[in-house]
Symmetry: C2
Subunit: 434 residues, 2 copies
């Protein structure tokens, strides 16, 4: 948990640097509010009820975005907008547990509610870039697309609008499987317990291929090519305009060109996105999938109130991100919070070592007295070394008489004598390197 905490702290530091405010919402909410009656959501939700009570319509949140939208809609006058908030918390999905699919996991979200401008979307992309960089990632790409372009596909490629959701689901797999797999899925008839088939004709599939293959050049070149290809779809044109604006803003915010790209295959699964969508792929660990994703969802707040409210944001996939940091060894493998352990092997020195540990804590040095059942210096020393504590203090009868502790550096494997009253200052300088 120590490296995990380090990851949380880093994310929070960057989110706060962007001016996002912390928010907390309940873990349990009304089920109909969480799902909004959408069967895609209600099929994977945990219902809950107090023992001995009937089901009162309560369920556990499956993400942090829906509860945010509910809060914003409930307090239209108390929350001034734009409202920038971050939230970290557990979410639950009632899915069959399997490898990489947990029923309980942690999300870390940042959202801007009440901002229609493309500058807000660019802020999210900049936030994603700065967070990834602060966490120590150097090989990643933030892929950006716009749902409005994807919504123009049926008109452009010539297939029924009601198949577009299945088409997008197939396209979304371009990161995991290649075009061969995707085109096979697009052509296969849906049926018999397999709902991944879309059932498109050859020409439609061919048009989709031309669309996906547009990329490869710079972001502006890609957009120019889409503009030409989909000129008959006003919705796609609107999406392109937004992305061109975002490009300018992202550049002004100083996000390097090689850390983000327009990628026409990005759809993102959740039903509530309405405009730009973002995802973050580790180029040295592509198989792990997106570790930080989001997009614009201008209609979600309207689900809970009469007025609509534009919103954009992104969510860190905490467990995936942490797994990646461990694999790439970019997270410090610290095993202890204490910087100093004071051994406790001489009953006559107990009060003395408690006074000393207090004096260290007063100087804000994380320190502890050995509290276990081992009585000998040797066994306690081996425990402290195994714990990974950087400094060990040895204080027995001799040290008490001389007024000097033995200070062991477990990393340098050195040992010096330090006067009791000088310990806080000596350790403080050792720890801060001054």
């Amino acid at each position: 948990m120590i490296p995990r905490q380090y990851m949380f702290d880093t994310i929070r530091r960057i989110f706060e640097r962007f001016g996002f405010l912390p928010l907390d919402t309940p873990g349990i909410e009304k089920e109909d509010i969480l799902t909004g009656g959408d069967p895609a959501f209600s099929k994977s939700i945990f219902r809950t009820s107090a023992t001995g009570s009937r089901y009162e319509g309560l369920a556990m949140r499956f993400d942090l975005t829906v509860p945010l939208a509910r809060v914003v809609a409930s307090y239209p006058n108390d929350i001034s907008r734009p409202f920038k908030r971050y939230q970290v918390g557990k979410v639950w999905r009632g899915e069959k547990p399997q490898a990489g699919r947990f029923r309980e996991f942690v999300q870390f979200d940042a959202d801007i509610v009440g901002a229609r401008t493309s500058m807000a979307d660019a802020e999210i992309i900049s936030l994603m870039y700065e967070t990834m960089t602060a966490l120590g990632f150097s090989e990643f790409v933030i892929r950006v697309n716009n749902r409005k372009i994807l919504n123009g596909l049926p008109a452009y490629a010539g297939f029924p609008v009601d198949r577009n959701e299945a088409v997008l689901r197939a396209i979304d797999k371009m990161g995991k499987i290649d075009w061969k797999g995707v085109s096979e899925e697009l052509g296969r008839e849906p049926g018999d317990g397999d709902d991944s088939g879309v059932g498109l004709e050859g020409p439609a599939i061919e048009a989709i291929r031309r669309f996906i293959e547009l990329q490869g050049g710079s972001s502006r070149e890609t957009l120019a090519a889409v503009q030409k290809l989909m000129v008959d779809s006003p919705q796609a044109m609107e999406g392109i305009t937004e992305l061109l604006e975002i490009i300018e803003h992202v550049e002004a915010l100083g996000v390097p060109e090689d850390r983000w790209a327009i990628d026409l295959s990005v759809a993102r699964g959740l039903g509530y996105y309405t405009g730009p969508v973002f995802e973050t792929i580790l180029t040295n660990l592509p198989s792990i999938g997106s570790v930080f994703s989001g997009g614009r969802y201008d209609d979600l707040v309207a689900r809970f109130s009469s007025g609509s409210l534009p919103a954009t944001g992104a969510s860190v996939g905490v467990d995936r991100l942490f797994a990646a940091m461990e694999m790439l060894e970019i997270i410090p493998s610290v095993t202890t919070i204490s910087k100093v352990m004071v051994l406790n092997f001489d009953v006559d020195c107990q009060y003395l070592i408690q006074k000393i540990v207090s004096s260290l804590r007063s100087e804000n040095i994380p320190a502890e007295v050995y509290l276990g059942g081992e009585a000998t210096l040797k066994a306690q020393l081996s425990f402290a070394v195994k714990q990974g504590v950087p400094y060990i203090l040895i204080i027995g009868g001799n040290e008490r008489r001389s007024g000097r502790a033995q200070l062991k550096d477990t990393v340098q494997r050195t040992q010096v004598e330090v006067m009791f009253e000088e310990l806080p200052f000596v350790l403080r300088s050792l720890l801060t390197g001054k």
Copy 2:
């Protein structure tokens, strides 16, 4: 949430200074593990199951101590002991919602597992003292007692052992109601929908009164008096010896005499305490009850494994504590994370202000661009002031041409001109006061 976050950060800082490690455990666990078959627990638990699934025996945690005991028992070889951990998280109780009783609340715990010594209990008391002080409380008392003394009451006062739980429940109310109320409850026959009556005879009640009235002197005087009174109970004598040890250790750890006291009326509700118990009362807000409580629970881990493991710890009542901090006005009423807001009223300056906000963030200054729908300088200015941002930057056509921003200090109500490239350094020194 900003002041709440400040409270969490302060608690965590002190807990880490004592060498406690962070731990996280699932929100959902097996119900029989959480309750251990104890009806007192199972009657107020939230059961949960995935939509469309049968009840699979899952429920939501009602505290953080039981899950800790389960984790420690499950990984006997991976977790070296003593194991000092802290944990912050939501817990749920399936009670009827009413004033001051929430169904979902946050706990912040610190525990030491695998330490039998009284030094560990003293560590917890010292931790409670340092945390309360760091949070800004100056008028509080940590009350300390020992369950073993209370368990000696039936033999001493002459009443059946099976009534002791009800007696302790009554004594525990001494903080809320006075002796008159408690003695009335001790004498009343239990029955008819009111289970608070204990049904003791007059002499037993009188003996309990003598016991409770022992206090008033110093902690050592109180214990000497109990020692005399309960000399025939070996268990009470053991409890007194432990408390005398704790007194010495607490003094060595530098906890001031007026911040803690032996208090024979402290029982603490939860069934799993076996030795010393602690609670923290605000002397200027006694009605709020204990804000930080705990005790030793040597038998809880044995519920999950063949071996028993001694443990001691304490839990912050986060919601109560926060309410108290607000009432006492000892928590900063900050309303914004951003230190700087850059107004955004001139479309020709958009990229310029994005470059400037980036340069501030690079210097770790929390800063944001105005992203709302108001177009005029005046309306944006009034939004920024209402948000409570300490510094506002105004950059329009004139400023762009001169290369100097207008920097407004909303607290001092002053305004100066600063060259764009000097903004990060100027603001950094204003914010750090250097």
